[in-house]
């Protein structure tokens, strides 16, 4: 049973670089690596696209949490559904106060917020991770949404906590009375600027909206302690000593620029990438691509030549990307994975998992870290 904090591995990268596939492969490699005792591994996706289901061959319409077994290695898979985000959010915030939760959910703004707020999805993923950790895991792999959104995910706990902790909440929850009610008279002269702001809001918004907005924030403010504690716990988990960041990229200029940007942003959060995975960037073409046979037809040779050319391009693009990363002083070791020319997404995950194990990536991520800290 894991009483210490589990190893948290956050995979981040630009769009379309195979981040979800790599996360799934990494989770499988962690689970499959032979060791003293079986590792309990959780893999969770924050990407609203839910490609993790495809990668691991499980149904995306199934419950948010499920066990998946790949080649006899069990994995716990978490895929928070965007449409359930507000419900999960409300349950986490109002745990133990069913009446407040009912009021919150009856608020007309609640329903609209459910689909309009991008950040809620991120927060809910965090809540789900924190809750799942109580079940005890040795390693957690987090598949983030592309690029900039990956960083939003890391910053969201802080932003939400700041919003709820601050006097801003009090101001917002008293807004309705001051904007459209008669309570405004009591305001002092020093409040001139704020009264102007309230006046501006009254110009922009329907009075009933301001009232509902204020009611919503009153409910949230009454539960701020729990939200703030959750947010801080999530932050400690993601940016604490037991977290490692794996940046995933493709061998293209855009992707290298994304990787450099992410490494710099991570630095500002006080973290450094532990590993960079370059997908579709083998170090050399497969042997059969260079063998030729006189009996082959011209058309077959053309296909082989095209495949060889594509492989050569991946090799040299990988070399160029590695050089570009070094030029930008990104020191993290680079792992290069081949193009997995396979049909089923699960087979691709299997192949990449085997490649990661062969390169001893699971060991590097789990043992090469600071000693685990209790939460």
């Amino acid at each position: 049973m894991a009483t210490a904090a589990p190893q948290v591995i956050v995979c981040a990268g630009g769009g379309g670089v195979g981040k979800t596939t790599t996360s799934a492969a990494l989770a499988l490699a962690l689970s499959a690596t032979p060791g003293e005792s079986k590792r309990r591994v959780l893999v969770v996706t924050v990407d609203p696209a839910r490609r993790l289901a495809d990668a691991l061959g499980c149904a995306s319409s199934e419950p948010t949490q499920q066990w998946v077994e790949v080649d006899g290695h069990p994995l716990r898979v978490l895929m928070p559904k965007p449409e359930d985000a507000m419900q999960t959010f409300a349950e986490a915030v109002f745990a133990g106060s069913p009446e407040a939760m009912a009021r919150f959910q009856r608020n007309p703004i609640y329903a609209s917020l459910a689909s309009a707020l991008g950040g809620i999805q991120e927060f809910v993923a965090l809540v789900t991770i924190v809750q799942a950790l109580d079940e005890g895991y040795d390693a957690v792999v987090v598949d983030t949404a592309p690029s900039r959104h990956a960083l939003d995910f890391l910053r969201y706990p802080e932003r939400l906590a700041t919003l709820l902790e601050s006097r801003a909440m009090g101001w917002l929850s008293g807004l309705a009375e001051r904007v459209h009610g008669r309570g405004g008279r009591r305001a002092k002269l020093v409040d001139w600027g704020r009264r102007r702001v309230e006046g501006a809001l009254a110009l922009l918004l329907d009075p009933s909206i301001v009232k509902e907005l204020a009611a919503l924030f009153t409910e949230l403010a009454s539960e701020r302690g729990r939200v703030v504690a959750l947010a801080h716990r999530a932050k400690a988990l993601l940016l604490g000593p037991s977290a490692s960041f794996v940046l995933v990229g493709a061998p293209t200029q855009t992707s290298v620029a994304d990787l450099a940007y992410l490494a710099q942003q991570l630095g500002e959060l006080g973290a450094t990438p532990k590993l960079i995975v370059l997908n579709r960037a083998e170090r050399e073409p497969e042997a059969w691509l260079t063998e030729s046979d006189a009996s082959w037809s011209a058309a077959e040779k053309r296909v082989q030549r095209a495949l060889r050319q594509e492989a050569d391009e991946r090799v040299s693009a990988g070399n160029a990307s590695e050089a570009a990363l070094r030029e930008r002083h990104i020191e993290a070791p680079v792992v290069r994975l081949p193009e997995a020319d396979l049909k089923a997404p699960v087979d691709v995950v299997r192949a990449l998992s085997a490649a990661l194990t062969h390169l001893e990536v699971p060991e590097r991520l789990v043992h090469d870290s600071s000693p685990p800290h209790a939460l």
Partner: protein, 299 residues
Amino acid sequence: MVTQSSIAPQPLAEGVSPSKALPPAVLLVTGKGGVGKSTVAAGLAHAFARDGARTALVQFNHGHQRTPALHPKVEVVSLERESALEAVAQELLGSRLLARLLLQNFAMRRLIGAAPAVHELAILHAVQQLRRAGFERAVVDMPATGHGLAWLRVPAQLAALLRSGPLHALAERVAKGLADPAETGLVVVTLAEPLVLSETLELLAELRRFDATPAVLAVLNRVPRSLLAAEKLAEATSEAMHPALATALQLRRERLQQVQRFLGPLRDAGLAVTSIPHSAEALTAQFVAQRAFPSQEAA
């Protein structure tokens, strides 16, 4: 001459300039991450400019993005979240001072920080305002599919949420512009890869479901050489074929069928389709403009 069902690289429509084939003034370019949205957007802007239109190539906050060399009639417009929001507040309140006071208020800043939907509305509004600034065309390099789609729904959602008032009216105006086929069209960029194709199909289905911006063009980008070679290889192949080649070929035939199944219904639905070959040395906007959107004279 390639057949209609082939995936061989083909320009938009033979003998028709991109300006005629794609009438909406604002084109939003989207697709799954990494499919080459930015290059296609730049290529399209280049093609419109080459046909004589003053064109804005709109980018969002892409701090680290390099802008390629483009036709002089293309102007790269970078829209920042903060300034777009300030412009909206100023327009609605009629006062710059009041707009600043509102947006810099300690509580409003935190509220907006936790609820980013307002920024998306402001940016889409700014895009629609570009025509007032004298642009005949705007090509917008949108965020990737999941988030891009959420963006397109924000104005209608905010309009419904706010019920009345000036901000509601603005959200409704933006939503109306987005759904108007004469004003806005969506360009979907995709690749000949299973995951990307299935996500593109989901995007198109979602668009129909929400009555959002109509799609006008699908771009099959970076078609691999091996796929084109496999398309040319007849069914019958020699006995002595290397097993690895046989596997690679089989996979590519299946992929070809997948692409056909994807493109067929799009063409039937009247969507313009164009495909661009993969080429390591020519991933530039000019290459895209020349291969996918040739001018009438060139064709």
